[in-house]
């Protein structure tokens, strides 16, 4: 009996325990379902909130202000880099546009970009004096361009958070302004890339360098002018917000973030600095000076040529004739038959005259000291002797031509011919040269005769000259 009662009680207790467990399970399921529901509801509410107020909910990553931590970013730093670029890029644009004028594109056949139309508005007849002008122009253009690479990179670094500004658009005005920045940023990167590749003869671009670099420059200039106009007041305010002198005296330990600015350049939560502001500026300036130091020797010569380590035509590029070669005789397939005893120079003017090399040497010879200055930035001053172009013009019966067309033995390729202005032909320093630095003109430098024109771009000093046509009018 007792045993049966015990068993019944035990069974009842087991049943109750089971029921309790089941109830607990049910409650737990209900609770977790409620929690799931609440979580889902919160997600839906948040999604609805994001949809209603997208401006307040940036997507993760660079769009969140907290991603950007550098304590050096700020309006002052950006403004300082901006004012350097304002000066530097303006000089680059002016020297570049002058270089276009130096090609005398208005003379027949000279224009590498004949579709320029109104963009040729400023062109003028390129002077022959001072004879170092083109050399200086391109030396500055290329050396300064290279020296500005680090400044451009750090300026872009300083404003990069703005690329991910959230919301991406606030107004029509802002959409247009952001579009104009494509011209500035794309333009500066495009111009630097094409220029830097071109000076190293790395022609990987699917376009003509002249076309791309000139029109790319105009796209950049359009964006640059508007960018400067819109940002100038803010840049001035930025420059006034801190003292450069004080920054240059502030070590890492005392480096503090800038004040928050309306552009949001200073990060919302700046990290501890790892470099002082003066340290960053020293690094940028040092990089600029290093770049300038290892290339400028190819433009100014003298002792600096020995430090022109990475210049495309710097240290050791000059060769035995103290002048680097641009286009070797071999590369254009020139043979001994072309320039040997069978060589004739044809002059066409009021009459046609044919001269052998010996007859050319029998004419009065003049000596000049003139540079070959390449659009790629390198230039070397050399001693030349030869016959005056004006004497050849007189010989052809046209003492004061309006222009002249100089042609090379070279049959194909760019710059096998060049048009010279009347002023260039008439300049007493313009020669058909037969010697270089006291020796017979080497093959690679245009044997038997080449033109050397004061202040002209290198490629207008035609090598292996076979024919000169003097024109009464252009």
């Amino acid at each position: 009996m007792q045993r049966a009662a015990r068993m019944r009680r035990a069974a009842r207790m087991r049943g109750e325990a089971r029921r309790r467990r089941a109830a607990r399970r049910r409650r737990a399921i209900r609770a977790s379902a409620a929690a799931e529901f609440n979580r889902a509801a919160a997600l839906v509410r948040r999604a609805a909130d994001v949809a209603r107020h997208p401006a307040e909910h940036p997507p993760p990553g660079p769009f969140r202000p907290g991603t950007w931590r550098s304590p050096l970013r700020g309006l002052w730093l950006t403004s300082l880099l901006a004012v350097i670029l304002l000066a530097g890029l303006t000089i680059l644009a002016v020297t570049g546009l002058l270089s276009y004028a130096a090609y005398d594109p208005l003379l027949p056949g000279n224009d590498q970009t004949p579709g320029a139309g109104l963009l040729r508005f400023y062109l003028f007849s390129w002077p022959t004096h001072p004879s170092w002008l083109y050399r200086a122009d391109q030396g500055v253009h290329v050396t300064l361009g290279l020296a500005l690479v680090p400044v451009v990179l750090v300026k872009l670094w300083s404003v990069l958070p703005r690329l991910f500004a959230w919301p991406p658009v606030r107004s029509l005005a802002q959409i247009l302004e952001r579009l104009s920045l494509i011209m500035v940023v794309g333009g500066v990167l495009f111009e630097f890339a094409t220029g830097i590749l071109n000076i190293q003869n790395y022609y990987v671009f699917p376009f003509s360098f002249y076309t791309a670099h000139l029109y790319g420059a105009w796209v950049f200039i359009a964006g640059f002018v508007i960018h400067v106009a819109l940002k100038f007041p803010r840049m001035v305010a930025g420059l006034r917000s801190r003292s450069l002198r004080r920054e240059l005296r502030t070590p890492l330990a005392a480096t503090q973030p800038e004040e928050p600015d309306p552009e949001g350049l200073r990060p919302a939560r700046p990290a501890a600095p790892t470099i002082s502001r003066r340290g960053l500026l020293a690094a940028v300036g040092g990089a600029s000076l290093t770049l300038a130091a290892i290339v400028v020797g190819q433009s100014i010569g003298g002792l600096s040529r020995r430090t022109a380590l990475l210049a495309p035509r710097g240290l050791s590029a000059a060769g035995p004739h103290e002048l680097p070669v641009n286009r070797t005789a071999a590369s254009i397939g020139l043979t001994a038959a072309d320039v040997g005893t069978g060589y004739r120079l044809t002059l066409v003017g009021a009459r046609t005259v044919t001269l052998t090399r010996e007859q050319l040497l029998a004419m009065p010879q003049y000596a000049v000291e003139l540079p070959i200055a390449c659009v790629e930035g390198w230039s070397y001053s050399c001693r030349w002797t030869g016959v005056r172009l004006s004497d050849l013009a007189r010989l052809a019966g046209m003492p004061q031509p309006a222009a002249a067309q100089v042609e090379s033995i070279q049959q194909v390729g760019p710059f096998r011919a060049a048009a010279l202005s009347g002023a260039q032909v008439g300049d007493p320093q313009s020669l058909l040269a037969v010697t270089l630095n006291g020796r017979v003109l080497p093959w690679d430098h245009g044997y038997p005769a080449r033109t050397i024109i004061p202040n002209a771009p290198g490629v207008h000093n035609t090598k292996w000259v076979s024919k000169i046509t003097f024109l009464k009018q252009v």
Partner: protein, 189 residues
């Protein structure tokens, strides 16, 4: 890049035509005119590229230049800088994790004496890679009669020189720092 719009802060009556344009456009109407002028000039230049039959490569290079800098070069160098800082002594993360143990002498932080020569060297490589890596050898030889061989060695030598200068300056500052700390805390007798 830019979110704020320019334009003068001239206050206008909300009812005037000027004010209506301003509210609709989001800035001074002069802002619009200036931008349109800039677009017109750029468009005129692009027209010439189209006429020269080279617009496709031109447009591609323009876009690729921006993408390559903003979405490739920048993230890469930021990541490289962060990774390098983690490997160097003295690094402390937001969560309090630290890099390798710091040497006993508390000198100037090592980080800048490593990343500045590294950055200089990579900058030179980025600018002169066609010559350094010999990529432009055929065209360079056709033009100049020379080879690109010297450039790799000159770049390596320049890099070595920059690291040597950096190391020398670091050693000097380390010595100065330890001399200073010795002076401030005379050894116990």
């Amino acid at each position: 890049m830019s979110s704020t719009t320019g334009g003068t802060g001239r206050s206008t009556g909300t009812g005037s035509a000027f004010g209506r344009i301003r509210r609709w456009y989001g800035a001074n109407p002069l802002h619009l005119l200036a931008l349109l002028a800039a677009f017109a000039l750029a468009g005129y230049a692009v027209r010439a590229v189209v006429a020269a039959g080279q617009w496709r490569g031109f447009a591609e290079w323009f876009v690729v230049a921006i993408v390559a800098h903003d979405l490739l070069l920048f993230p890469l160098y930021s990541l490289a800088d962060l990774s390098m800082r983690r490997l160097l002594p003295g690094w402390v993360s937001r969560k309090g994790r630290t890099g390798p143990a710091r040497p006993a002498a508390a000198g100037p932080p090592l980080v800048n004496y490593v990343r500045i020569p590294v950055a200089f060297s990579l900058l030179l490589l980025m600018v002169f890679f066609p010559l350094i890596l010999g990529l432009s050898q055929p065209q360079y030889h056709r033009a100049s009669g020379l080879g690109t061989q010297p450039y790799l060695w000159r770049w390596l030598a320049t890099t070595g020189l920059m690291f040597a200068i950096s190391a020398a300056v670091y050693a000097l500052r380390l010595r100065r720092a330890s001399a200073r700390s010795r002076k401030e805390q005379p050894p116990a007798t």
